[in-house]
Symmetry: C2
Subunit: 393 residues, 2 copies
């Protein structure tokens, strides 16, 4: 069996739909995704925009929560945008960034047509994921101040125009603190102001992901942002591998946690469908995994720490953005190979209802783990291992 | 769409194999399970035993680790046994237990033929999962002392005979501490002695799972047992919903964590394939999910806290036991409806190799979470929520 899927594999969902009879497909989908999602009819105009501009557009209604006596439903439409870079990495920084702005602008307009309330873009959406190169210039020139950089200004204008909260994950230049860079998400309100920022808490040292060369572990903790449409948080990329990171966003009251990412097939595809969904389950919130698409080539060759020859391509970013629900079900994924906009309508009341049903927060025993973690980090910690008294080993 | 799969649905794997052309099936399986498992040829005798005694038998070789210069491979065969109860719940306690012993004995013999080194049975394997009833008698009479109860004696004899570590999850009667009950796994070495016990850390209060009526949260922490064939731990049933529980077994050095369970379709099936696999990924160890099969009916009617009429059936325990690898791939699942034995050969060296590759332990920031959890449990904790200054809400 091949080690990873190739770029011709559009999506698991499309290949199953092509080959399975309708009654079988229904059961298989139920087995794969749970009972939570049905198709959401999107506006004709949005569909025309998607066709004209060649991006994948999918809409789902996520299992609507049961009716409560004392709280009205809290229906919101959340969305994810995934895209490839638009210009070669040899183009100027400004040219590359502007082209991506224009591309994302098309999808933001479609999101507005789909009555989206909150949308999140992919990690470092304004630039190629150049950290594979370990070169600083020109790549760090994509970094911008969080509160008034060109991408924040660009999105703030759209956020206000469309009455839409926009989460903008960028490479941040922190001029107030020695010009360091951070991997940061900027939370822009539906009135166009920046509500705040949150930084990537866990930084990879894996293969081509040399990000620790560029920025450190985030220092913003696990902030949750209260927007007009619900409490949101952002777990950036590699942080999805750390369940304790997802957990703390839940502790701080998040109802929707976005996971803007950039990850490639041979490395992480078997993990992708699992991690955000597990977080939605364990923390009784909605989780949104977003991954870029396409293959990015760089001007100078680089090695990947795997003994293989130097090369110029990063590998295939496989898209497959999806939304998982606190009841454990999930939407289908966007395309593995095309830009896309994923829209889901959900009732945030489902979060508390799932907390009440499953009781995970009640049974979480954080006191036990606060103590266990505190002991485990001591230099003289001894693992709690019981040896077999009968063993001669 | 129906809310849950019915009992005619044998398994996702069998239905896909039935309907998809070979080349498509290969890609779909790669997408669903990752590249990690290939078929393992099992002994003819074991296959004959499975056929004669009508249980599902499946064997896989899990991606063998790369060759290291300074450590030899550590190949072990691990196994899971899932089964239905064998007698009506109206039969005597001893009759019910003995019938299950006999059934499991058939599968243990087959496991021996498959050269299994470590096998784990399902949660409370000696009894029906009677906690739905909230009745104490006769159900608590299935409880037995961990070190010398009838089921421990029965398994200790087989463990020695077969040179096989057996993990035996039972309802424990703790005579030394006021006759209380616990939900406990007994770790029996391949020489037939009890290495130790470990108890269920998180107790559900969900639907028919009235377990908190019978026993409290476990007081054994996150022990890991050093056996002749590797370091193992046991995360019992509902503990799989808590990633911080899985995490602490990893901190204590587990290479294989078993998750013996009893869970039913309409409640948890969308979660089942996610949680143990996520744990294997996040903690760089092998994780084994084991679930009982069949529908259990009880003599007296009970209600399920869902407003529906009283009834006597628990619902469908959907089996589907599987093994997940630290590289994120997984084996197919056993049948949803038949008893079964799942065997996998793995190289425990893969655990450290995945730690080195992904670096999750290095980047875990347990210091941050020890502090965050300690603060979060304070009665006056305020969630870290950033409000939108422009909001009039």
């Amino acid at each position: 069996m091949a080690a990873s899927l190739d770029e011709k594999f559009e999506s698991l969902e499309s290949i199953l739909a092509e080959h399975l009879p309708a009654d079988v497909l229904e059961k298989v989908n139920l087995s794969l995704r749970g009972p939570g999602s049905t198709n959401l009819e999107l506006s004709t105009k949005a569909k025309e925009m998607a066709k004209k501009n060649n991006f994948d557009l999918q809409g789902y209604q996520i299992k609507i929560a049961q009716k409560e006596e004392t709280r009205p439903p809290r229906l919101v439409r959340i969305a994810a945008i995934q895209n490839a870079i638009q210009k070669p990495t040899t183009a100027s920084v400004e040219e590359q960034r502007n082209a991506i702005h224009q591309r994302v602008d098309q999808m933001l307009a479609a999101a507005h047509e789909c009555q989206v309330n909150i949308v999140c873009l992919q990690e470092a959406w304004t630039m190629p994921f150049a950290f594979c190169t370990r070169e600083k210039y020109p790549w760090v020139e994509f970094a911008e101040p969080a509160y008034d950089g060109p991408s924040t200004k660009f999105l703030a204008e759209r956020a206000k125009k469309y009455n839409m909260v926009i989460v903008s994950p960028i490479l941040e230049r922190d001029e107030e603190h020695g010009d360091v860079c951070w991997n940061t998400a900027v939370i822009i309100s539906n009135r166009g102001n920046v509500i705040g920022i949150t930084r990537k808490n866990h930084i990879p040292r894996v293969g081509d992901f040399n990000e620790s060369t560029y920025y450190m572990e985030g220092n913003t903790g696990h902030k949750v942002f209260e927007t007009d449409f619900g409490r949101i948080a952002v777990n950036i990329c590699y942080g999805r591998h750390h369940p304790q990171n997802w957990l703390m966003y839940g502790v701080n009251g998040a109802e929707i946690v976005f996971n803007p990412s950039a990850t490639v097939g041979a490395l992480s595809e078997p993990l992708w469908s699992i991690e955000a969904r597990n977080a939605a389950i364990a923390n009784s919130y909605f989780a949104v995994g977003i991954n870029r698409v396409g293959t990015e080539a760089f001007p100078n060759e680089f090695t990947s720490g795997d003994g293989k020859p130097a090369h110029k391509n990063f590998g295939h970013f496989y898209g497959s953005s999806y939304i998982a629900s606190p009841d454990g079900s999930r939407t289908p994924g966007l395309s593995r190979i095309r830009d896309g906009l994923l829209v889901a309508e959900c009732d945030l009341n489902l979060c508390r209802q799932m907390k009440d049903k499953w009781g995970f927060r009640m049974t979480q025993r954080l006191d036990l783990y606060a103590d266990s973690f505190a002991r485990a980090i001591c230099p003289d910690y001894k693992m709690d291992i019981i040896k077999d008294p009968s063993s001669k080993k």
